[in-house]
């Protein structure tokens, strides 16, 4: 026997590793609308199997805890059982020798705190309090509940125009979302259990790119004579306007600038969303008969009170178009601008010339990446300063990768301290202080704290603040609309407390968020305004969705879109992303597991095709 051997994996170990990976993927597709106590019991069983068996609390305690949870689930438990669960879990947490044990107990304790009412419901009423809805994962995760498997199936059959029409039933921005949606639908895609999520956005983009001109939706309902004012022509406002118009109401949009689109136009650079694609959506919305007042600022050209008097209902969707200041020394004066301002200037045709200059962007969100890449296209050398780690950035990973690939320098774990200016006031440098990753905050991201390192200087000509947007909601606050700091307080039906007939949605309610959430806000408001006005106009689309195809499911790679070569694409503002080829799109579309037909999908079918 040798004194030492190189460890080699046995077949069992290899297969178990493979199973671990499978379970990880599977868990990533897990939904939250399941019985939480049952899930906690299942997690606990898994944790217990990971125990080495050395120590008492872990070896014995986790099993006993499991039996107690099983008692709760099968109606044998009393409130004393709940106390015993708590006592046992606390003891295991306090006494287990290693993380396998105390981590398991922490998981149970977190559940006891987080869904205690469900434990009590099981004990006292013998049933789960959660309305378990194993719907179609992608549809459930899409804030606007777009019928994704339906349009994916239509793409697979080459029926691109029908796919666009089906999307419009829930979302009048198929083109914009085909280019820039953050695709929350993919997060719980059941295909992850097999290999990887379906590339839903790429398929939507393929549909809109290939659909040709899709005739606008017909207004199916007779005119109601009701008038609705929409304040702000961004995605939320235009979505509400679109649906309310096809319901037969008369809608007027009051838009502060001279173009519609809101953040889709002024917040997203054209290299991500070409203007003509955005205009496709907006023209289709306007074709239904929506009236628009451009260069009209509510609060200046008319008051909210006046709108309330003139209209039967008002929808506020003013977005989040001002920016948050860095609040550091030297910020005031030339050479420091906001990301929002840069993007707006470029959209308005005032493209700055940054040739030979260095631009330093502060922030880690999508807007920061947009500002950085736009500055790059204006000729600058670009740094991005961010106080946390790259993985903590809120920007989409592909945006971060695109930004790095294009040549922007990422300076992470550094917080801006002050801006240095020379005697003439010209910006010379951004002084930054190195940070260290601290304790995790509630969102699971580490809080950055000052490191015991000296300050550093980043020489720069221009500083761009991209640490968040704010909402110009003063006028509304003064008009009896309740505000939480600067956000408008609306409930989950988009209503505003004590303001009957006034609704709000989009970034001005959620704070800066995604386009699809804004669209959902507009959709929800449209439905509830319709009911408020005394109607129940049903929105549906008469499209024959292809039946599921019987086929074998073999694991297969996900088809990803690729980007144009970086040193070429930075010379223009044209689309950076290359669409899927037809071959790729067809293959990708057939990867869809058609959860609308399998699993619990058919159970909801009748309840899905209209709203």
């Amino acid at each position: 026997m040798s004194r030492l051997n190189i460890a080699s994996q046995t077949k069992t170990e290899a297969v178990l590793d493979e199973l671990y990976a499978t379970v990880l993927r599977r868990m990533s597709a897990g939904t939250a609308v399941l019985c939480p106590v049952d899930m906690a019991a299942a997690f606990l069983r898994l944790c217990h199997a990971q125990s080495c068996g050395k120590c008492v609390p872990c070896r014995v305690g986790l099993g006993q805890l499991g039996s107690l949870l099983e008692d709760v689930l099968s109606g044998r438990a009393t409130m004393e059982t709940l106390e015993l669960i708590e006592k046992t879990a606390s003891a295991i947490y306090a006494t287990a020798d290693c993380a396998i044990g105390h981590g398991s107990a922490a998981l149970v304790l977190r559940g006891l705190e987080g869904f205690r009412e469900d434990y009590i419901s099981h004990i006292q009423e013998g049933k789960c309090s959660v309305k378990c809805e194993q719907g179609v994962p992608c549809i459930s995760k899409c804030p606007a509940n777009v019928e994704i498997p339906g349009y994916v199936a239509l793409v697979a059959e080459g029926r691109y125009a029908d796919a666009v029409r089906l999307i419009r039933k829930d979302n009048p921005f198929p083109s914009a979302c085909g280019y820039v949606c953050e695709q929350p639908c993919e997060a719980k895609c059941r295909r992850r259990i097999v290999d990887d999520a379906v590339n839903i956005r790429a398929l939507k983009r393929f549909a809109v790119d290939n659909a040709g001109a899709v005739p606008p939706t017909e207004v199916k309902y007779p005119p109601t004579g009701k008038r609705i004012a929409v304040v702000g022509g961004g995605p939320a406002g235009l979505t509400a306007a679109y649906f309310l118009t096809i319901m037969g109401h008369s809608v007027e949009v009051f838009e502060k600038s001279n173009k519609l689109g809101g953040m889709l136009r002024y917040g997203i650079p054209r290299y991500r969303l070409p203007a003509e694609k955005l205009d496709d959506d907006i023209n289709a919305i306007l074709a239904t008969g929506v009236k628009v007042h451009y260069n009209f600022e509510v609060g200046k050209d008319a008051t909210l009170v006046e709108l309330k008097e003139k209209f039967d209902a008002v929808f506020i969707s003013i977005g989040a178009h001002t920016y948050k200041k860095l609040r550091i020394e030297g910020e005031e004066g030339e050479g420091v601008i906001s990301a929002i301002q840069l993007l707006r200037d470029i959209e308005d045709g005032n493209v700055p010339d940054f040739s030979g200059k260095t631009v330093t962007v502060v922030g880690g969100g999508n807007v920061a990446m947009d500002a950085a890449r736009s500055a790059l296209r204006c000729g600058a050398k670009v740094n991005i300063v961010y106080r946390r780690r790259q993985q903590d950035m809120t920007a989409l990973p592909e945006e971060i990768h695109g930004t790095i690939a294009e040549g922007c320098n990422l300076i992470t774990l550094c917080a801006p301290v002050r801006i240095e200016r020379d005697e003439s006031g010209t910006v010379k440098a951004l002084v930054i202080r190195p940070q260290i990753s601290g304790k995790l905050d509630k969102s699971g991201r580490p809080t950055p704290v000052d490191a015991r390192e000296p300050e550093r200087r980043v020489e720069t000509d221009i500083v761009i603040a991209a640490i968040g947007q704010a909402i110009d909601s003063n006028h509304f606050g003064q008009s009896s609309i309740p505000l939480d700091r600067d956000t408008i307080m609306a409930d989950d039906a988009s209503r505003i407390y004590e303001n009957p007939g006034v609704y709000a949605g989009g970034d001005c309610v959620t704070g800066p968020a995604t386009v699809i959430r804004a669209i959902a806000g507009g959709k929800v408001a449209a439905a509830n305004i319709d009911v408020y006005l005394g109607y129940h106009h049903v929105i549906s689309e008469d499209i024959d969705i292809p039946d599921k195809k019987v086929r074998n499911i073999a694991p297969c790679g996900r088809q990803n879109m690729v980007q144009r070569i970086s040193d070429i694409r930075i010379r223009d503002f044209c689309d950076v992303e290359l669409p899927l080829t037809e071959e790729e799109a067809l293959l990708e579309a057939t990867r869809c597991l058609r959860c609308d037909h399998y699993g619990y999908g058919p159970y909801w079918a009748d309840r899905r095709h209209k709203w």
Binding site: G126, V531, D547, V550
Partner: protein, 582 residues
């Protein structure tokens, strides 16, 4: 057309046909449990599986459409074994004490298991406990539920009520009353369609046969039984009688053999209902400004519960006439008690109904003409009376037909068709015509209100006045009709609504033949009886005339309205939570 091969046989079927329908079209019958055509194709039980050559896993035939070139094996060894495993898994959680189950003989799980030759289980039995209020008009056995979800779909999609919903997830998934309510606190209409569409014995009517056996054995009790129109078209089905054998007079003979003292016909009070409701309708027409239209029929208790819980603002539009069952009950304890010279409390009034909602109706506080003395003491469904006949070991087929007793055993053809959708409307129109025109119409003049469409309409001219009528059957269709009325898309003068598809013929208390809808066939039997009836007009019923004559004097005339009419607002039912939202 799509060309496929099923068990080696080439077949060509229409595009979109399911594998199941394709197989059945050539006589290959696949077993199913959860599948319910038109309502449930969720593929949950995994029993109708087939093998498609080239496809690795088995395919549910109920919800998979055929595709060109499919080569299908419906009963390969692999299919058979998988099916047996799944049925055994279902059985491992099913209380299969078939000997004590009302559905023994009409249970789809029993027949599927028997057909597959499952005579032992490879799995440990793990049967969930029952938790149901046993005094409710119907009973749910958790221990028998196979979670096929048919009840949910039928209640939501056929009836638009939504009492049932699935609860929890994973291994704890089950069916319960939706929105966390208890059944007593729900707006259940008691229509019983979930019962007749349950593949097993998880849902059944509350069994009230013992109460009747006790009354029959009590010499102090005078048992008076009424037989509803639709019962005569169905009672023989589960006893193995042909439609020709299963006459109402043979049922009367069986009841007499059991010892019932007086055997009467609900047809008598169905005719009475027509007289009351017909006059009420004419009165409303003459005072149009005082009433909202249309007037709705009031004989279906499921419908009454539905309108009260969904459209309480329209309850005034219901006819105030009691249902034939309740008119009968009230009249039996007043008119008959006087005729027999007995105290009403000695009369034990039993009704045989195609309906589970009737159990709820008889228990209403408003249905007691004499204090503390329900007008109808016990309601038996057709299924329960069949069970009593079996319990008494009566060979019904061998009995000679016998007549009803008098005076409440006389009915007309107009009353018989109460049991079919459109029948009340047609019977009412026959008499309304007579009351206005002073002469009889042709008895079949209003036959275009007949049919099986969920929502039908017709227009007639009576006495120079245009009368627009509509008929809906199934509460889902009633919902559509009312929504259209409220939106002003349609307008009618008189509307008949029956909660069950096909009317009482398809009632929730009728015998169950799995996956077979018999309402239309039973309706035909009823229309046949009408056609051959001696008289086909309610106003020509001599017993009804005699009744009105008896109640003419001052003492009786005062009683008449309370005997025959009711206040639909004098009792409460919870609002539908789904209506509150809108």
């Amino acid at each position: 057309m799509v060309n496929i091969t099923i068990d080696g046989r080439a077949v060509s079927v229409a595009e979109g046909t399911s594998i199941l329908d394709a197989a059945r079209s050539i006589g290959v019958d696949l077993p199913t449990l959860c599948y319910l055509k038109g309502y449930n194709d969720i593929g949950a039980c995994r029993v109708c599986l087939v093998e498609v050559k080239g496809i690795e896993r088995l395919v549910a035939s109920c919800n998979t459409a055929v595709a060109e070139g499919m080569d299908i094996l419906t009963n390969s060894p692999r299919v058979r074994e998988a099916r047996k495993v799944n049925v055994q898994l279902i059985l491992s959680q099913h209380d299969s004490n078939c000997a004590t189950c009302v559905r023994s003989g009409s249970c789809q799980l029993q027949s599927v298991a028997n057909d597959l030759g499952i005579f032992s289980l490879d799995y440990e039995k793990n049967i969930p406990k029952n938790n149901w209020p046993m005094d409710y008009p119907f009973i749910r056995h958790e221990s028998k539920c196979i979670k096929c979800m048919r009840c949910i779909q039928v209640c939501s999609n056929m009836q638009n009520v939504g009492i049932w919903d699935s609860n929890s997830s994973g291994s704890h998934t089950t069916i319960g009353v939706s929105r966390g309510r208890t059944i007593w606190n729900s707006d259940c209409t008691l229509c019983g369609q979930c019962i007749t569409h349950c593949p097993v014995g998880a849902l059944r009517e509350r069994d009230d046969t013992d109460k009747v056996f006790d009354a029959l054995a009590d010499p102090e009790r005078i048992t008076v039984v009424q037989i509803a129109p639709a019962v005569r078209a169905a009672w023989g089905e589960s006893l193995g009688l042909s439609r020709e054998q299963a006459t109402v007079n043979r049922l009367a003979a069986a009841l007499r053999k059991m010892g019932f003292n007086y055997i009467y016909d609900t047809n008598f009070t169905a005719d009475l209902t027509i007289m009351e409701e017909g006059r009420e309708f004419l009165d409303r027409l003459q005072n149009r400004d005082k009433h909202n239209f249309p007037m709705f029929t009031s004989c279906c208790p499921g419908w009454i519960r539905y309108i009260k819980s969904h459209y309480p603002d329209m309850v005034d539009q219901l006819s105030t006439a009691k249902s034939p069952q309740q008119m009968f009950g009230a009249v039996a304890k007043d008119y008959l008690a006087e005729k027999l010279g007995v105290d009403p409390s000695r009369i034990f009034s039993i009704s045989i109904m195609p309906c589970t909602a009737k159990k709820g109706e008889a228990a209403l506080p408003t249905m007691q003409y004499h204090e503390d003395c329900p007008d109808v003491d016990v309601v038996l469904t057709t299924r329960e009376v069949d069970r009593m006949i079996r319990a008494e070991h009566i060979n019904a087929a061998a009995l000679a037909e016998e007549e009803f007793d008098t005076p409440m055993g006389v009915g007309t053809g107009a009353a018989v068709i109460f049991g079919a959708t459109g029948g009340v409307m047609e019977a009412a129109l026959r008499s309304v015509y007579y009351l206005v025109e002073g002469k009889n119409p042709d008895a079949d003049a209003f036959e275009n209100v007949r049919g099986m469409d969920g929502w039908r309409e017709a227009e007639y001219t009576v006495g120079g006045v245009r009368v627009r009528v509509a008929v809906a059957n199934g509460l889902g269709n009633a919902h559509k009709l009312i929504e259209a009325l409220r939106k002003g898309e349609v307008s009618y003068d008189f509307v008949e609504i029956m909660a069950c598809p096909g009317g009482c013929a398809g009632g929730g208390g009728q015998p169950i033949t799995p996956d077979t809808e018999l309402a239309e066939e039973r309706g035909k039997t009823l229309y046949g009886l009408d056609k051959s009836a001696a008289t086909r007009f309610s106003h020509e019923n001599p017993a009804v005339a005699a009744f009105y004559e008896y109640y003419k004097d001052e003492y009786h005339a005062k009683r008449l309205h309370k005997l025959l009419h009711t206040d639909h607002k004098a009792w409460d039912i919870p609002m539908s939570p789904y209506m509150k939202e809108e």
